[in-house]
């Protein structure tokens, strides 16, 4: 897939979406979309932008589709005593969505671990679930996770879970390929011991081995540590060209970048899309990351978007007063694919909407033109590579097809 093709202006989703907003009439009924994301605690910054994206998508269709009123509820799957996602709360959210007859779609979860809890519940309820952030391959892809995955998440046998982000197995491979292209011969791999980081680092490691990159070290960090100076010393002693950290801003991606610099490490630093947000640069300090920090991201960065995508950027900017982050794009896309599903559904109930969303093909989204495959994964395999320069992410190239 070439850049030009990707950058095709994103067309109108469907006619009804546009007209419904203009026809002012009493709503036929209410359809509710809920999202369940960790809103309390450290992931709050990321989920804020997801929710902004969702709200923008709903506002754009005027809160109405075919005379049905679209309601949105923003649920929190974190609890104050945990300060992070809480499985009990996630189950509670999923159950209440399942019980609420007007609820037709579930946007979530943020953490793949939470998805494991929610998926069987929503599957039994026949509720469509679209995740803007889960990347653990086992949730959808047979043979990638445990032996019983993903069947265990589909007790009814039907696929109701979809995701619009590429999974770890893609990103790890692309990142390693890119590292090879950048001329890396020795790499030191780190991960944050979370589901996301462990997955990507494992794939990265395999691919790097395949490409003949020497792996001089593999460490799992403590994501709550105050600094990583002793780690940097260890890294420096091994003298790699690249340090690959599979983790997120929350799990100290910024701090590692900072400590690598202050510890005198001169090589490159690469991180996955969990760090593709302004907060990463702010946490790491632009002067520490500039010119040496590479970021991969599933899709094109917002500023590279044209047409419908550019429109999204400008309306996001005018509505929320800030540039959209990667997660805002994901949130927006997740909401739009659901709204399109609602518009296309023959019957405006769970089964109809689920069928419509599952049938999504050649969707003109801000992430490109893509479809859902039989497992519920996005067909989009576009990833882009960024470098941090001048305190901003700068687009370098498209990775993969």
């Amino acid at each position: 897939m070439k850049i030009g093709y990707l950058a095709i202006p994103v067309a109108v989703v469907c006619g009804s979406l546009m007209t419904a907003g203009q026809v002012a009439q009493a709503p036929v009924g209410t359809l509710k979309i809920v999202s369940s994301l960790p809103r309390t605690g450290s992931a709050n910054a990321q989920t804020n932008t997801i929710v902004n994206g969702i709200r923008l998508a709903i506002d754009e269709c005027g809160g109405q589709i075919d005379g049905w009123k679209i309601e949105y509820q923003d649920m929190d799957d974190a609890s104050p005593q945990r300060g992070n996602w809480d499985p009990t709360v996630e189950a509670q959210n999923a159950n209440s969505a399942a019980k609420d007859k007007s609820c037709v779609a579930y946007i979530g979860t943020f953490n793949s671990g939470a998805a494991k809890v929610a998926m069987p519940i929503l599957n039994r309820a026949g509720l469509v679930m679209v995740s803007p952030a889960n990347t653990y391959p086992g949730l959808t892809k047979p043979g990638q996770g445990e032996a019983n995955e993903p069947a265990v998440y589909r007790p009814t046998g039907k696929v109701n879970y979809f995701r619009i982000v590429p999974t770890d197995d893609l990103q790890g491979v692309y990142a390693a390929n890119w590292a090879k292209e950048l001329g890396v011969t020795k790499v030191f791999i780190l991960n944050d011991r979370e589901l996301y980081g462990k997955g990507i680092s494992g794939v990265f490691r395999k691919q790097a081995e395949k490409l003949g990159i020497e792996i001089v070290g593999f460490e799992e960090i403590d994501s709550k540590a105050a600094n990583y100076r002793s780690l940097v010393t260890k890294v420096k002693a091994k003298n790699p060209d690249l340090v690959y950290f599979a983790g997120t801003t929350q799990t100290n991606g910024g701090q590692i970048g900072k400590d690598l610099r202050s510890g005198g490490f001169e090589g490159m630093y690469m991180v996955p899309d969990g760090c593709f947000e302004r907060a990463f640069i702010e946490a790491g300090g632009a002067e520490n990351l500039n010119g040496r920090t590479y970021v991969t991201f599933g899709g094109l960065p917002p500023e590279k978007l044209t047409g419908k995508g550019a429109e999204f950027c400008s309306s996001y900017r005018s509505k929320f007063g800030a540039d959209p982050e990667a997660y805002a794009v994901y949130g927006y896309e997740a909401a739009r694919v659901i709204l399109a599903g609602i518009a296309n559904a023959k019957t405006k109930d769970r089964a109809g909407i689920l069928a419509a969303v599952a049938a999504t093909t050649d969707f003109d989204g801000v992430l490109g033109k893509w479809s859902f495959d039989a497992d519920g994964d996005t067909s989009s395999q576009v990833m882009s590579g960024q470098i941090v320069r001048g305190g901003e992410f700068e687009f370098v190239k498209v990775l993969g097809k």
Binding site: N44, P80, Q81, I121
Partner: protein, 338 residues
């Protein structure tokens, strides 16, 4: 003496009515699922109450035993391991394994003075998470183990949809735990625990084997916490990830015990209702209501209701001990071991 229903009985009797009430309430007001969480934490806190309330040993790592219970249950039942026990036998096994874990931690450290023991338990809570995360091969690391079975009755395995069955099962197990702990409390053992809490030197001089008695308290607490862990894993059908059993869970359990009334079973039940109720009922419903009515915005950090949750939880703790320093339902002396 004529039997009068005590506060424990009244609380538990009221609890049986909630699912019936839910039948007539709209979805937003239904409580039974959230109350299930209260039961789970009540069981956990009852365990902690044995060690902290009765024996007076500050334990800041009770969640570690919950994690051990959950992972034991997971490994013994999940279809990706060869053991594949059923719900009841696996839940039964979490109890001795939890007790064993309590013994392993307790054996070298119970000679320590109060707060030295506290830091050891706190550290234990952290490393259990670390070990569960690091032993990928055994525990599947951060993936969590799933699916886990629910109890079967008459060949029908429950799912999360059978929520009232779950509700009553948890309630029944809570009642069993309450009875078991009351039996222990009102025995020679309970008396020994109380005496150690009151005055360790005096009880030693009366021939109480302090280390052994402390050890039993520790292991009992660990066993109950492990059972709570197994139960919670079964309800969620997943062990979740190791960091789901972190320090904050231990802290919540401790707050339940102390806010409710140290060493009082009724206190623990009330404490669980208040603390967990605040967290997973009041705050959840309040933020949902505010969001539905367009109150607050998330652009501003102060106007987003979710950002106030820590503050409200903290204030509740400070106010609770300020107003009721000995707990909401302090233990009554004449009810103590006889």
């Amino acid at each position: 003496m004529r039997w009068r229903p005590g506060p424990i009985f009244i609380i538990l009797a009221l609890a049986t009515c909630i699912p019936l009430l839910d039948q007539i309430l709209p979805v937003e007001l239904q409580l039974s699922e959230a109350v299930r969480g209260v039961f789970l934490y009540a069981i956990l806190a009852l365990g902690l109450n044995v060690v902290t309330g009765y024996a007076g040993l500050l334990n800041l790592g009770i969640a570690a035993f919950m994690a051990i219970g959950a992972y034991t249950f997971g490994i013994l039942t999940c279809e990706i391991y060869p053991f594949q026990l059923g719900f009841w036998s696996a839940l039964g096994l979490t109890i001795p394994i939890g007790a064993l874990a309590g013994f392993i931690l307790g054996a070298p450290t119970l000679g320590l003075r109060g707060d030295y023991l506290a830091i050891v338990t706190l550290g234990f809570g952290e490393i259990v998470q670390d070990v569960l995360k690091n032993l990928d091969v055994v525990t599947k690391g951060t993936q969590g183990i799933n699916p886990l079975p629910a109890p079967t009755f008459g060949g029908h395995e429950w799912t999360a949809d059978d929520e009232y069955k779950w509700y009553y099962l948890l309630l029944a197990l809570l009642v069993v735990t309450v009875i078991a702990i009351r039996n222990l409390e009102r025995s020679r053992l309970g008396r020994a625990w109380f005496s150690i809490r009151e005055d360790e030197i005096a009880s030693r001089s009366m021939g109480i084997r302090v280390e052994r008695i402390k050890m039993i308290a520790f292991a009992t607490a660990a066993a109950i916490a492990a059972m709570a862990g197994g139960l919670s894993a079964s309800i969620l059908s997943s062990t979740g990830e190791p960091s789901n059993y972190d320090f904050q869970i231990s802290i919540l359990a401790l707050c339940i015990v102390i806010v409710g009334g140290i060493g009082s079973i009724a206190g623990v039940l009330v404490g669980a209702l208040v603390m967990v109720g605040l967290n997973s009922i009041v705050l959840v419903k309040a933020t949902a209501w505010m969001a539905a009515h367009g109150i607050g915005s998330q652009g501003n950090v102060l106007l987003s209701p979710n950002n106030w949750k820590f503050l409200i939880f903290g204030l509740a703790l400070v106010l609770a001990v300020r107003l009721k320093p000995s707990g909401l339902v302090p233990p009554r002396i004449e009810r103590a071991p006889q």
